[in-house]
């Protein structure tokens, strides 16, 4: 059909050979490696892994995978190359444990000393590495108060003023689960109905988008994680995000009572880890002062190591008082929270 098709075909063939060669990278099971299945974005953990390799000489292989990470390890079974799982959100860690793809790490002294017990699975199946607060972004111009509670988000005075991402997103599910755990299911549902009526628009976008919406004047309050504010404030490539961050102030809800809901990012040792020793070394390293400082400085997260410093940017938001509700209790209410979001029709937005 093409007059030039023979040339084209030669070109395509050459290209396909070149590309085909890249399709089958060498499998990563050589000694001196640790294989990481991560829910966390590779760029975010790269500085940490580079530091780890420099210190221990152990190479890292990273596979980014979000939905289905646990299912993949389960399907791979005994032959799974995964050594460790890195993830955000307590729900994912608990799910990995429940799927039986993790193994306990109980008597590791370094880990137990570095990570407070509340951020470790009682049976040792996962550890938390950083925490983040689910806070309220409030318009500097239009919101006068400097304290707030989650409960207040259902107060009719905020009618048409609140923005959030989908209620079925991990971060919101964990927050709602904490509301159920703290208030009981019935009261939490009343609260969620009130929140729904106060929404300015149908939930959507990501956390940064809520700050953008406040900047644009579409709403006065938004739900978001702490570290996004740090990332926006220091975003030199998209300076307009600095303006978004500048339009908001961070309010830590319930600072005067039970504290702000926090979620964790964490890791687990895979059940059939082929490089178990290296995996343990990585776990120890990520809980160390060096790694915890990198987490704090580069990602604007709260380190779990009590002696590690919070970044200056994050300190500028003010002090966080984390809700002490055990993470396992939050994870236990996730299903109820997800069903409640459907029942209330939160993602439909306000009834107009």
């Amino acid at each position: 059909m093409f007059d030039t098709s023979s040339k084209l075909r030669v070109g395509l063939a050459a290209l396909s050979v070149a590309a085909g060669a890249s399709l089958f990278p060498l499998s990563a099971q050589a000694e001196g490696t640790v294989n990481i299945y991560t829910y966390r974005q590779p760029d975010l953990i790269k500085p940490l892994l580079d530091a780890f390799t420099e210190e221990t000489g152990i190479d890292t292989e990273v596979l980014f995978l979000d939905q289905g990470l646990e299912d993949r390890i389960a399907a791979e079974g005994e032959n799974s190359p995964a050594d460790v799982i890195l993830t955000v959100d307590i729900g994912r860690l608990v799910n990995a444990k429940e799927k039986g793809v993790t193994q306990p790490v109980v008597d590791n002294q370094t880990i137990n000393e570095n990570i407070p017990a509340q951020y470790r699975d009682p049976e040792g199946h996962w550890i938390g590495l950083t925490t983040r607060g689910r806070v309220i972004y409030a318009s500097k111009d239009r919101v006068e108060q400097d304290t707030i509670t989650y409960e207040e988000l259902a107060d009719p005075k905020w009618k048409g003023k609140i923005c959030m991402r989908s209620g079925q997103h991990n971060y919101n599910i964990a927050l709602f689960a904490s509301m159920i755990a703290n208030l009981g299911e019935e009261q939490a549902e009343e609260w969620m109905k009130g929140l729904k009526e106060n929404l300015a628009r149908k939930p959507g976008g990501n956390d940064r988008g809520q700050a953008q919406a406040i900047y644009a004047g579409e709403c006065d309050l938004g739900l978001g994680n702490t570290y996004y504010v740090g990332l926006m404030m220091n975003n030199d490539e998209e300076p307009e995000q600095k303006e978004w961050a500048d339009a908001i102030k961070v309010l830590f809800p319930n600072s005067e009572d039970r504290g702000t809901h926090v979620n964790i990012s964490g890791m687990a040792l895979a059940k059939h880890a082929p490089n178990k020793e290296n995996a343990l070394e990585l776990m120890e390293f990520l809980s160390s002062a060096e790694a915890q400082a990198i987490y704090a400085e580069e990602n604007y997260e709260y380190p779990v190591l009590p002696s590690a410093e919070v970044s200056e940017t994050v300190q500028s938001f003010g002090e966080i008082k984390p809700d002490t509700l055990p993470l396992a209790d939050i994870a236990a209410q996730r299903k109820a929270a997800s069903e409640m979001v459907d029942r209330v029709g939160l993602d439909d937005g306000p009834a107009s």
Partner: protein, 566 residues
């Protein structure tokens, strides 16, 4: 089967003729059955998954989720079906029948939106029409508004908004299929109608549209399957379709079985829709017996003045929407990150994407040819059903389909490994799931519908007596297929290859679930950034995706510009 072919009798084989043939090709049929089984594997795995569940999710789903999400899904599908057929057919008719400025450029540029993945289009539309985006900022500057409440602006985060986004990037499927018919078959009949005194509008509605209907439907079917399986765009736009319900059931409520059950119900609905359509048009099939006469260039009606401007605008708007907006949004981000252009990681991702897409295209075409040829050879209803069923995977959310494949492949891998350990004392590890083979397989199965559709369209245009004539002269079935059908199908195979290539370059969900270590495509690169709320970091890769998809799209358009068959 009423046929426009005068030499029709051979095209109506009796059941007994089918049977004698079947007995003659046991090997071919066995291979076909094996391939069909492989293709069906992930779907069957999902069905098994669904039946292993307890159904405990259903009271909740039935009461709070399904009424709303089924409605939303159907409204979305209806809007997209309407939008894409009006846009696709309208633009195709415009560039075929009329002459206006830049018509030849439009003829190929109308395919460009196909290069944009829906999830990127959704993001681009969201930014573009946002309060701080260029459109609303422009309106405010123009009219002196200062606050959101000062004026009304439609919200893109609605079912209608999602329909606009999906239509913008998928209508070229309809455009492509409709255009071929208008250029090729339609013109002859249209000429006849016109010599008999019918007005152009009447010719279009009464003659061309009915003739083009099977092709239009084939295009719309692809559009709808892509809409049904979409997760990224509807999630970003906050439109709660069935696919979203699948994900929240699976990920937030920890019920993979429940998710599989919704997926199976959804598949069933799509299957019924497709089958019903096929039944409805079973009696209409149009063969062209004399392909050679159609290469004469049909005369076009020259438009001038405001009519020409109107035609120009009608053809320009869909290109601006489906291609211009994403290009503008990601282009602006990429300008701030020109250093990424030379990043080795991006170049590697580009090579991997191209390699995967080429391998997938070859595999998908081979499978489609095999299945369709078997169907042509055997002609039993069961075989036709099987082929149709094998391609239905396209309507399933990519992650769920990939999960089905993962579970079956991993079982196979572990079985082989177990055997190897037992009898040879060595471990084979994960043969398929540990390599890129799984990704290629998943994409080929996922996009088989595209390959099957394009090849089938080509096959339908060939009178069935062609290869039968060759066989009656003593050639074996495979030989007549190779020497007669295959050369004639070359254009259709080319189209099929390009469609699969383009969709594989855009593919995300199966790739991300099944890829081995170090296997990064452009799409996974974009997603890794988007998943941490920094889509702009993936802008350069997004442009690479669009650029990679454009090359074959333009190749595809080469014949379009020359007004020849695809």
């Amino acid at each position: 089967m009423s046929s426009f072919t005068l030499k029709a009798p051979l095209s109506q084989p009796t059941a007994s003729a089918g049977k004698t043939r079947r007995q003659r090709h046991p090997a071919a049929l066995a291979i076909t059955a094996l391939v069909a089984a492989a293709v069906l594997l992930p779907i069957l795995a999902v069905i098994v998954m669904a039946f292993s569940g307890t159904g405990a999710d259903w009271p909740h789903l039935a009461r709070y989720v399904l009424p709303q999400s089924v409605t939303t899904t159907f409204v979305l599908l209806a809007l997209v079906a309407f939008g894409s057929s009006v846009l696709g057919v309208g633009c195709a008719w415009l560039v075929v029948a009329y002459e206006f400025p830049l018509r030849r450029t439009f003829a190929w540029a109308l395919v460009l939106p196909l290069a944009v993945p829906p999830y990127l289009a959704a993001y681009a539309f969201g930014e573009f029409f946002h309060y701080v985006g260029p459109v609303q900022t422009g309106i405010r500057t123009l009219f002196g508004f200062t606050r959101p409440g000062d004026y009304w602006f439609p919200d893109i985060r609605t079912t209608a908004g999602a329909a606009i986004v999906m239509t913008s990037v998928t209508f070229p499927y309809v455009y492509l299929t409709a255009r071929v018919v208008f250029v090729m078959q339609g013109r002859n009949i249209a000429d006849v109608a016109r010599t008999l005194g019918a007005a152009p509008a009447r010719v279009f509605w009464r003659v061309l549209l009915p003739v083009a209907r099977p092709a239009i439907v084939a295009g719309v079917a692809l559009v709808l399957m892509e809409t049904v399986n979409d997760f990224g765009a509807v999630q970003y736009l906050g439109v709660r379709t069935l696919t979203l319900a699948i994900y929240s059931t699976w990920l937030n409520r920890g019920s993979l079985e429940g998710a599989a059950q919704i997926a199976v119900v959804m598949l069933f609905l799509v299957f019924i829709l497709l089958t019903a359509e096929q039944m409805a048009r079973r009696k209409q099939r149009f063969h062209s017996a004399r392909g050679t006469q159609m290469k004469a260039r049909p005369p076009r009606i020259a438009l001038s003045g405001w009519r020409a401007c109107g035609a120009f605008a009608v053809a320009l708007v869909p290109i601006l929407a489906g291609f211009g907006i994403p290009l503008a949004v990601f282009g602006r981000y990429a300008l701030n990150r020109l250093d990424q252009f030379a990043e080795p990681a991006l170049a590697e991702a580009l090579v991997t994407s191209i390699g995967t897409a080429l391998a997938t295209a070859v595999l998908a075409i081979a499978v489609a040819l095999l299945l369709l040829y078997a169907a042509r050879l055997v002609r039993t209803r069961r075989m036709v059903f099987l082929v149709r069923f094998a391609t239905i995977g396209y309507a399933m959310p990519g992650t769920i389909l990939a999960l089905g494949l993962l579970i079956s492949l991993a079982r196979f891998d572990n079985f082989i490994d177990g055997l190897a350990r037992e009898y040879m004392g060595l471990s084979t590890g994960l043969l398929l799931t540990g390599s890129a083979a799984a990704v290629v397989l998943a994409c080929a199965i996922r996009f088989l519908a595209l390959a099957e559709g394009a090849v089938q369209a080509g096959l339908e245009k060939l009178p069935p007596n062609l290869d039968e004539a060759a066989r009656s002269l003593g050639r074996s079935a495979p030989a007549s297929a190779a020497t007669i059908l295959l050369p004639l199908l070359k254009p259709a195979i080319f189209t099929a290859g390009i469609l699969v290539f383009v969709d594989t370059v855009k593919e995300l969900s199966a790739t991300i679930l099944l890829r081995p270590f170090g296997f990064n495509t452009l799409a996974t690169y974009v997603y890794e950034n988007a998943s941490r709320g920094a889509v702009e970091e993936g802008a350069m890769a997004a442009l690479f995706i669009i650029a990679t998809a454009i090359v074959p799209v333009i190749l595809l358009s080469g014949p379009l510009m020359r007004d020849r068959d695809l």
